[in-house]
């Protein structure tokens, strides 16, 4: 338990280069050998190559566990939400549909929900998770808060997410620009915000870039 006390997970989408090294490394994890639990999301595929690795955020109020009818999803005392317990999981897919971050994956062949458990065999003894140990740009980083503050002076960690009426505090942090306002990422509101970062492309390609899309 104490191993995780100071070490934290940080996701920095701005650093992700889409190399998929984390996806490959994830299959090497001994808690789910051969199965990758990471999905690489394209943020705005029509306009950008920006990617974001999706790992489990380990919520303080895990929606996956809340909706589980078989009482199969449990959380360890250091706050890591584990893969469904095999004797209990009924492969109903509720967690897959309910997770606001889209993390759980249904392994239909094994009739078992599997998810990122932060490489529990490694992190529980103080090692980095597989993905964080291979990420070349450290978009997935595992370390102390002080380390991150020193290494990333332009970013700060945020771990509160708002999904409509639901507030989630997560064990995993998301790095946001330091000067950005607010302590909460309002995910549902952000869906309706215009995408940022297109100004640069506009300069390069002109106005037709946006028009062709609309």
């Amino acid at each position: 338990m104490p191993a995780l006390e100071n070490l934290e997970f940080f996701i920095d989408p701005g650093r992700c280069i889409g190399c998929q090294a984390c996806i490959q490394a994830c299959t090497e994890c001994d808690t789910h050998k051969g199965q990758s639990m990471i999905q690489l999301d394209y943020m705005d595929r029509a306009h950008s190559t920006q990617t974001l690795p999706v790992i489990c955020m380990h919520c303080d109020s895990p929606t996956c566990a809340e909706v589980c009818p078989a009482d199969a999803i449990k959380r360890t005392e250091d706050g890591v939400v584990q893969t469904a317990r095999k004797p209990r999981c009924i492969a109903c897919n509720n967690c897959v549909l309910a997770c606001p971050f889209g993390v759980p994956k249904m392994n239909t062949r094994m009739a078992l929900m599997m998810k990122c458990d932060m490489c529990y065999d490694r992190t529980s003894v103080g090692l980095k998770p597989m993905c964080a140990s291979v990420c070349p740009s450290q978009a997935l980083a595992f370390g102390t808060r002080e380390e991150m503050a020193k290494l990333r002076p332009n970013a700060r960690p945020v771990n509160t997410f708002q999904f409509g009426a639901q507030t989630l505090r997560t064990k995993v942090n998301l790095m946001v620009p330091r000067e950005s306002p607010g302590e909460t990422v309002d995910v549902t509101a952000a869906i309706y915000e215009p995408a940022i970062g297109h100004d640069l492309l506009k300069e390069v390609f002109g106005d037709g870039f946006q028009k062709g899309d609309a």
Partner: protein, 188 residues
């Protein structure tokens, strides 16, 4: 499982926050009964364990008692019906026919073993319910599925997998007609 209403030290250590973010005391009972944290999920109160053992044992005792009472007093009821099965002259000696008794039962097998002698058994083999066929010359009934043999005179198993006798149908011959008057339970 934690005890609702009592001070549980594990409530203090509770990590997981309910989705409405209100206190544990304000949550419905089922949420305490199905905790998300491993520590709480694995926790069994001594009182819960004792309750489980006592109630399970009580259920077993009640069940056994019910079976005993049923065996002692459940025999009564309507007398078995008397139904005509066959005419005596209908079957040659060594001949057999199937019938149902009582109405709607599984097939029963009637065999004429002598000029005035009839026997009838349930046709289902007591091993895996295959129909038995009479082998009157050998004085036996044969089940071809797994080569099981029964004694034609008593219905007892002689060879092969069956271990229980065929249920016997009581017969009565009145005025050249064979009547079935009851079913005897199969004996070992």
């Amino acid at each position: 499982m934690s005890q609702p209403g009592t001070e549980n030290p594990r409530d203090v250590e509770r990590l997981t926050v309910p989705p409405d973010r209100r206190s544990v005391a304000e949550q419905p009972k089922w949420r305490r009964d199905f905790p998300i944290d491993f520590a709480e999920d694995d926790y069994t109160a001594r009182r819960d364990l004792v309750k489980f053992i006592v109630l399970t044992s009580a259920a077993l005792v009640v069940g056994q008692g019910w079976l005993v009472l049923k065996a002692l007093f459940g025999k009564g009821g309507a007398a078995p019906p008397v139904l005509p099965v066959a005419e005596v002259d209908e079957l040659p000696v060594g001949g057999a026919k199937t019938f149902t008794y009582p109405e709607g039962s599984t097939p029963r097998l009637l065999v004429r073993t002598g000029p005035e002698a009839f026997v009838a058994y349930d046709q289902q083999c007591t091993h895996l319910l295959c129909p038995v066929v009479p082998a009157v010359e050998q004085g036996r009934l044969h089940c071809p599925c797994h080569n099981g043999w029964f004694d034609l005179a008593t219905g007892r198993p002689i060879a092969g997998p069956p271990r229980r006798a065929l249920p016997r149908i009581r017969l009565e011959v009145r005025e050249r007609t064979v009547y079935a008057t009851g079913v005897e339970d199969s004996a070992t």
